[in-house]
């Protein structure tokens, strides 16, 4: 009723992929005007930290968290909802146009690449990358296209290779060693609210890269990847370029590379949209 459903993070079915395994206690702060709900701050209580956090979040995975309001008096409604939090809270990756949100500390950025003006990844690299980075990416494209890697799409069992490669690459820092994360990602493939895309790269019949993306409305969201950099060290960059090309090919208007890893993502010259943090302590 109140969610604008602008991004995939505004969709109940998507957040429920996490929530159904967590079952944290819900704290949905709601403003009513003459018995009609006009504002919603959807939170849950994380029993590990003892802090309120956004509904469906798990270890800061959720992006572009919003306070939902009707179109009028947004400023006042957002202020009222934040002022009414009565328990310790850590609300991260909070986005919104309201002054009260913009004045909060910026703690991360969402990385978005508008695609409307590009029909190929080459147009993107020519437009946005410069100097040594552009040269490096052009070299990667040429080298990897000469190798002629085999590509395959939407083989659902390849998601297991994504997990395996991600754990192999990041070790204990991989999110797939956390409880439920694999189940959650398998569930992403079954979502009705969006279209899932699995892209797999093979080199000499061996899987060396798998990328999961979701297409929601005009946005193509790069969710996660697993790559084997032992054989082809720049495979991660190449797989990202393929994913951007996939996004262009299916008519998406923007590629969403999500938040986190700011230094790594900034090199790709995506637009950076500030994400704020709200902290409440007793």
């Amino acid at each position: 009723m109140l969610s604008p459903k602008e991004t995939i993070y505004d969709v109940w079915e998507f957040r429920n992929c996490f929530y159904k395994y967590l079952n944290y206690r819900l704290f949905f702060y709601t403003v009513y005007l003459q018995n009609v709900p006009v504002g919603l701050l959807p939170l849950q209580l994380n029993p590990e930290t003892g802090l309120l956090e956004f509904f469906g979040d798990h270890k800061g995975w959720m992006d572009q968290n919003k306070i939902f309001t009707t179109t009028d008096n947004k400023e006042a409604l957002v202020a009222l909802l934040l002022q009414n939090i009565t328990m310790p809270a850590q609300l991260d990756s909070l986005t919104g146009h309201e002054k009260i949100i913009e004045q909060l500390p910026i703690t991360d950025y969402t990385h978005l690449l508008p695609l409307s003006t590009y029909s190929t990844t080459t147009e993107y690299t020519d437009d946005r990358l410069h100097g040594s980075k552009k040269k490096q990416i052009k070299n990667i494209i040429k080298t990897y296209e000469d190798i002629k890697l085999e590509k395959r799409y939407n083989v659902s069992t390849d998601i297991e290779h994504l997990f395996e490669l991600n754990i192999q690459h990041f070790g204990n820092e991989s999110s797939f060693v956390w409880p439920h994360r694999k189940e959650i990602f398998r569930d992403f493939l079954q979502l009705h609210c969006c279209k899932s895309n699995l892209t797999t790269l093979l080199y000499q019949d061996k899987i060396i890269g798998v990328c999961l993306s979701l297409q929601y409305r005009d946005s193509y969201i790069g969710i996660n990847m697993g790559v084997d950099t032992n054989i082809l060290p720049d495979i991660l960059s190449y797989l990202l370029l393929i994913d951007i090309q996939n996004a262009i090919s299916c008519g998406a208007k923007q590629y969403d590379a999500r938040g986190g890893n700011q230094q790594g993502k900034a090199r790709w010259h995506f637009d950076q949209i500030p994400q704020h943090s709200f902290t409440y302590t007793l």
Binding site: D72, E75, H97, T117, P274
Partner: protein
């Protein structure tokens, strides 16, 4: 509610509406700052004002650039964080103001303060560092800069202090002319001070007491090698501009950035505003990036 948009061309009425509707949060929201830039060109005013009945509820403050014959934000092309002022509750009427503009119009360096302007294409970022939780430059570097970059900055600054004689002066107002000449020396033809009236505007800025103007002069081995102008508004230190001698070593450039940060901390500012354009250092120094956007109603075809 029915919103009607009227174009206001009278400067007195324009100022009244500005005072009524501007949130006055940043220096760019103040009439006084923009007027210093405006008064030397006196471009025709075009303040697109929204009314709910007879009540002004929003303002898109523009002027007509007589050279280009195009609309631009009040105060001209120096301005960042250009904002459509809207009273609370009227945020959803933002698009109406822009759709009232003649074709073709292109407006740049717009802050995304509502759903409409927040979806416009990004062309640059405004760089602002929060400094309210630190008291020294070392503390700042530890808190906001990556360890590699921090070590590099500290090494360069230490090298300057150990190998050269450096003296820092504050508020030697006579050094403003030197700022102009050092800026021209540093940037050549691209120096902002080759623009008409720009030096006079800067002289006025140093007289604008409500913005607490301050000059920082740095002497290197007995020669004045850098001068910077800052303003402070609502606990935000704004590094307006400066100039560094073309013969100064690279490490001196790093040292001057540390010196300016130290000055901002001495003034007990809560934010350090380095304006737009990364210039190859601002993001690395931990400045936060606020998108600046562009509106155009010109078809790409």
């Amino acid at each position: 509610m029915t919103i009607t948009i009227k174009k206001i061309e009278d400067i007195t009425e324009a100022q009244r509406l500005w005072d009524l509707l501007s949130p006055k949060e940043s220096i760019f929201d103040t009439w006084e700052f923009r007027y210093i830039f405006y008064k030397y060109t006196r471009q025709p005013i075009a303040f697109y004002t929204g009314y709910d009945g007879d009540t002004p509820i929003g303002l898109l403050p523009l002027q007509i650039n007589e050279q280009t014959k195009q609309l631009e934000f009040f105060g001209g092309n120096f301005m960042d964080d250009n904002t459509l002022f809207l009273l609370p509750g009227y945020e959803s009427s933002a698009e109406l103001f822009f759709s009232s503009l003649p074709v073709p119009t292109t407006l740049s360096y717009i802050a995304g303060t509502n759903a409409f302007t927040s979806q416009l294409p990004i062309i640059d970022y405004h760089f602002i560092a929060p400094i309210d939780t630190v008291t020294t430059t070392d503390e700042y570097l530890h808190k906001l800069v990556s360890s590699d970059k921090r070590r590099e900055i500290q090494r360069r600054a230490r090298k300057m202090l150990s190998e050269h004689s450096i003296v820092v002066y504050t508020n030697k107002l006579d050094d403003l002319e030197l700022l102009f000449s050092l800026n021209k020396e540093q940037f050549g033809e691209k120096s902002t001070f080759y623009y008409p009236n720009r030096e006079t505007i800067y002289k006025d800025l140093t007289q604008a007491e409500m913005f607490h103007p301050a000059l920082l002069t740095i002497e290197l081995d007995g020669q004045k090698a850098a001068v910077f102008l800052s303003l402070t508004y609502k606990e935000t230190y704004i590094a307006i501009n400066g100039g560094i001698s073309a013969s100064a070593p690279k490490d001196f450039h790093t040292y001057t950035k540390v010196a300016k940060l130290e000055e901002a901390l001495q003034y007990k500012a809560k934010k350090y505003d380095a304006l737009t354009n990364d210039c190859g250092w601002k993001e690395n120094w931990g400045f936060q990036k606020i998108p600046q956007r562009i509106y155009t109603n010109v078809s790409a075809e």
